[in-house]
């Protein structure tokens, strides 16, 4: 009895496994950072695209999986970021490297009034409200004749050239920006969820009433997440259209490209986990690279897979891994040590 009383209990987050995972992740990031020196042009493009989708998926997961704000209108910010990047670079002559973060900032600025308006809609109606906002953005930019109106515009050659000297250097720069943004986004989401605000957010998700009675300002917590997510999504949007070099309202505000795929990625990988969107992106691209020739049959299969996962394993592939092994690569939950040994 005595010995049990004195046995020290401690609360820890990191496990040996998460330590190893973090080390491995650092190695992977370094190897990927060197990709321009070992990968071909096509691979580099594909990796860049994977990183940008990973960032979008992580952001949507923070929004829907943690803040409970299920948006089907995040294409509003992807497109807005892309358009702001083009507007700043073409119309106001801002250097592309400065235009990218500015596009993100403007995205956060526009997200604030949007949030005030659509937060009046509850639950599922909020979802459709976000879609209406995205449509308003798309139709408005289609009227914006300085950037080509409905048919869109291309990034002029001299602006592309101002990014870096030579084609290889430019492609490497675009790639590093994509890698940088995914590392920053995942790192930020991780840090946010570990902070007291992140704990508050998880409390709201698990039980709004209980969280409210503990003094958490629910509206403000959700508002913050919405605005930050909007800004970062716009930043990713700027990078997406830097890679594409061309923008049009239909491509910029595509619900399929920037929301449907992202939702499928997060659902398949595991919603409400940090690892889910990362795993989901890898699975999605593995499927796409092997099955994309099937065209619409591929999209049907993806939809069926997402529905089956939502019905049979709502925590996604990572949820299955975690249920079997208890693995957590990004240590978020607290574990009590010293209870049972």
């Amino acid at each position: 009895m005595e010995t049990k009383m004195t046995k020290s209990l401690s609360v820890a987050r990191a496990t040996r496994m998460s330590g190893i995972a973090m080390g491995l992740l650092a190695v992977i990031v370094i190897v990927m950072a060197l990709a321009p020196y070992w990968a071909g042009r096509a691979e580099l493009r594909l990796f860049g695209e994977i990183f940008l989708y990973m960032a979008l998926a992580s952001l949507w997961n923070l929004l829907a999986g943690y803040a409970g704000l299920v948006s089907v209108g995040q294409q509003a910010y992807v497109g807005f970021g892309g358009y702001m990047f083009f507007a700043l670079a073409i119309l106001w002559g801002v250097h592309p490297l400065a235009a990218i973060p500015l596009a993100g900032l403007l995205g956060a600025l526009i997200a604030a009034p949007v949030a005030v308006l659509i937060f009046r809609l509850r639950g599922a109606y909020f979802a459709i409200g976000t879609w209406v906002m995205a449509e308003v953005f798309r139709l408005s930019f289609a009227q914006f004749s300085a950037l080509g109106g409905g048919s869109g515009t291309s990034l002029p050659v001299d602006i592309v050239k101002s990014l870096a000297d030579g084609r290889a250097a430019r492609e490497a720069a675009a790639y590093w920006l994509a890698l940088g943004v995914v590392v920053a986004v995942v790192g930020l989401v991780y840090a946010y969820l570990r902070s007291s605000r992140g704990v508050a957010l998880t409390a709201i998700r698990d039980n709004e009433l209980a969280a409210k009675s503990l003094g958490i300002d629910i509206w403000r917590a959700k508002f913050t997440v919405y605005v930050v997510t909007g800004g970062l999504t716009a930043l990713v949007g700027a990078l997406i259209f830097l890679q594409k070099l061309r923008i049009s309202p239909d491509a910029a505000f595509s619900v399929n490209d920037w929301t449907a795929f992202v939702i499928f990625i997060v659902v398949i990988g595991g919603i409400g986990t940090l690892e889910g969107p990362i795993l989901g992106t890898l699975v999605y691209f593995a499927l796409r690279e092997t099955l994309a020739d099937l065209g619409s049959a591929y999209l049907i299969a993806l939809g069926v897979l997402a529905i089956l996962i939502m019905l049979k394993a709502p925590k996604g592939l990572w949820g299955l891994v975690r249920a079997r092994s208890g693995a957590e690569l990004f240590p978020l939950s607290r574990r009590v040590r010293g209870l049972d040994d």
Partner: protein, 286 residues
């Protein structure tokens, strides 16, 4: 006179939007379900009517006799086999499952019917018009509007005057108590979705006669229906009709100012109403 005419056309267009919205409003009222695939189901009904008219040589209005029961049956099965498994406190599963369904439906239609725009041929009905006090009113838009009013009256009657409506209202108020009182919840939900898709079938067929449609046309129909529901106020079917009319008038007036402004004008009116009256104009439900 010109503006009066535009307003009149917008009002009649609002009837179609009210039909888009009625099915959405119904299932939200009974089971708090928001069906993201609603617009794609409207388009599916239009395609089913197209196949019926082509195969049987029947008029689109006759095709309703086949498409309405077909969609109702599909709705019942969809609810019993898929959507009932997602019902619960968490709004995420139904939302994401219907979203997946929407993508599946769009791509199935794309595979089956190609991306070419289609239209239902209703012959002389399409161009017939009535002179009303110096204005000319299209017979078809008028029929659609009357059908919308009758549909909403019928739904209202069903809700407040029949045993089925009582079961719907009971389930809507307290699912668990309704279950204890001997109502089979899964079956009631199935019937609600069947009724919703029967109305959707009406909406789809009239959409197909009025304008051309393609597999990607569903998203906008969902949004118009949703805007009509929110403008009118949740849970109020007559409010939904008013919401549809307001949206229709906003769109036709917007189009008169600038053709590129049509849909945007509707969205802006919706957002203004959301800002000024967040619960809609005639709310009944929280």
């Amino acid at each position: 006179m010109d503006w009066i005419n535009t307003t009149l056309q917008g009002t009649l267009l609002g009837g179609l939007y009210a039909l888009f919205a009625a099915g959405l409003s119904l299932i939200f009222g009974v089971m708090r379900l928001v069906n993201i695939a609603h617009g794609d189901l409207i388009v599916l009904a239009a395609y089913l009517a197209l196949t019926t008219t082509v195969m049987l040589g029947a008029s689109p209005v006759m095709a309703l006799l086949i498409v309405v029961p077909l969609m109702a049956g599909l709705g019942y099965l969809l609810q019993r086999l898929v959507l009932n498994r997602t019902m619960g406190e968490d709004i995420l599963p139904p939302l994401l499952v219907t979203f997946g369904l929407s993508v599946i439906l769009q791509n199935l239609l794309l595979t089956g019917y190609s991306a070419d725009p289609q239209k239902l041929q209703a012959g002389a009905l399409e161009t017939a018009s009535l002179p009303v006090g110096g204005l000319s009113v299209g017979v078809l838009p008028l029929i659609v509007f009357v059908v919308a009013v009758l549909t909403i009256a019928a739904l209202q009657w069903m809700f407040y005057r029949t045993a089925l409506g009582r079961a719907f209202r009971a389930t809507s108020d307290r699912q668990d108590i309704a279950q204890l009182m001997g109502l089979h919840r899964a079956h009631i939900f199935g019937l609600a979705m069947a009724l919703s898709l029967a109305v959707t079938a009406l909406a789809g067929v009239f959409l197909g006669i009025r304008t051309s449609f393609d597999p990607a046309a569903g998203g906008a129909r969902l949004i118009f229906g949703f805007e009509a529901v929110i403008i009118g106020g949740l849970g109020n079917l007559w409010g939904t009709l008013a919401g549809g009319v307001i949206l229709g008038v906003a769109q036709t007036l917007g189009a008169k100012i600038n053709p590129g402004f049509q849909v945007l004008a509707g969205h802006i009116v919706f957002l203004v109403i959301l800002a000024v009256r967040p619960r809609g104009l005639f709310p009944r439900m929280d």
